[in-house]
């Protein structure tokens, strides 16, 4: 049986998410309070559209919310998204609920109230900017396998804490390895006793989101 996803509110976000979910084999139902938006969403292939307020139990019933695999609340109001998720979870036993959240201060509260995943744009953008700022001029990061694996290019300055050290002397997380060292026009496959020199560029392969802490450790920058 096909997995089912319920998208509550939202228009542009619902449109793009519906595309992605259909591609991944979901049967998608969208609930929208605006009639013109409903008409446009109904143009999409494979999307069932229900016109109404997705925070009302009878509208969710009509949208066949019973035991959906995924319910995503995308309205612009935090209160509506919380109530929609709680209804889906408690009354309709949705397997997984996701709520969009504007106010980052309420992130922990929403998790506490039983929302499985809280998507706070402010939080995500902040952490993206932090990552960008941190990496700017330090390293180039290439995500592989939907970000599960990262390959980073890390230049080593004279002042870096690992300059002059041998590879085996560097304490890296087990998920991180130095795959290659670029030195001038040479590329060196490192061994335990290879010494890191200033000006080297390390090619770092890391899994499990360990790249940031590893790069911090290697460059000494935070």
């Amino acid at each position: 049986m096909k997995k089912r996803a319920l998208l509550i509110g939202g228009f542009h976000k619902t449109h793009s998410l519906a595309d992605i979910l259909i591609e991944r084999g979901y049967r998608v139902t969208a609930i929208n309070a605006s009639h013109p938006h409903c008409l446009e969403l109904a143009q999409m292939n494979g999307v069932t559209v229900i016109h109404g307020d997705g925070t009302k139990p009878d509208v969710l019933q009509e949208a066949d919310a019973q035991k959906v695999n995924l319910a995503i609340a995308l309205t612009p109001k935090d209160a509506d998204n919380l109530v929609a998720c709680q209804l889906c979870k408690q009354k309709f036993h949705a397997q997984r609920t996701i709520a969009l959240l504007n106010d980052p201060e309420k992130t922990a509260f929403l998790y506490k109230m039983g929302v499985d995943s809280v998507a706070c744009a402010v939080n995500s953008i902040t952490s993206m900017i932090e990552q960008q700022e941190f990496l700017h001029g330090i390293a180039t990061l290439v995500p592989i396998g939907e970000g599960r694996l990262n390959i980073a290019e890390v230049p080593i300055a004279q002042t870096a804490p690992i300059t002059g050290k041998k590879i085996w002397e560097i304490d890296l997380p087990p998920e991180v390895i130095i795959g290659c060292i670029l030195r001038g026009d040479q590329s060196i496959v490192p061994r335990g006793d290879t010494r890191i020199l200033a000006g080297d560029v390390l090619i770092l392969i890391s899994a499990g989101k360990q790249e940031m802490s590893a790069i911090q450790k290697l460059t000494g920058r935070s």
Partner: protein
């Protein structure tokens, strides 16, 4: 909201709260400034409660609750800073009484979970949402149901009188 007005408001509240505690008046916070909240504020005040109303607009609230002398905190009642300023831990009761059911549901749960207030009443305009509360010890009151029941009760007594 101007910071000056807010601080002034807080100052007034602290002073009044002291007074209230001296007279042993119960402190009640009402989130919302629409018609229902205004009526409730006036009744509670007449009963001798110390009332604080969190409303979006001071002018709008004063216009519908002209006899209410209570203090007003101007702002969004779902805002954490606003709730922190309301001294909720001192409140004997908090009433979530905006005209938006979902906002009332959010505020009631927020106040219970984050601020630890015990006695919370949420106004629910559409009683079908009550199931969200079932797991929580938040009391939901539906003015629609209560009015309907009152009218139905009146009808019964009118019929009885007529049949006598």
């Amino acid at each position: 909201m101007g910071k000056g007005a807010y601080q002034e408001c807080q100052g007034v509240r602290t002073m009044k709260l002291f007074e209230a505690q001296k007279k042993n008046l119960p402190y009640t916070v009402i989130a919302g400034g629409a018609g229902f909240a205004a009526a409730l504020a006036e009744i509670l005040e007449a009963q001798g409660s110390d009332v604080l109303v969190i409303a979006r607009s001071q002018e709008a609230f004063r216009a519908i609750a002209s006899s209410c002398k209570g203090r007003i905190l101007v702002g969004d009642c779902t805002d954490m800073d606003m709730l922190r300023a309301a001294n909720l831990e001192k409140a004997a009761m908090v009433v979530a009484a905006t005209d938006d059911d979902n906002v009332n549901l959010l505020v009631a749960q927020l106040i219970k979970e984050v601020f630890g207030v015990q006695h919370i009443v949420a106004i629910i305009n559409e009683p079908e949402r009550e199931c969200v509360y079932r797991e929580l010890s938040v009391t939901a009151v539906s003015p629609v149901l209560i009015s309907a029941q009152a009218i139905a009760g009146r009808l019964l007594s009118v019929q009885k009188e007529d049949s006598l």
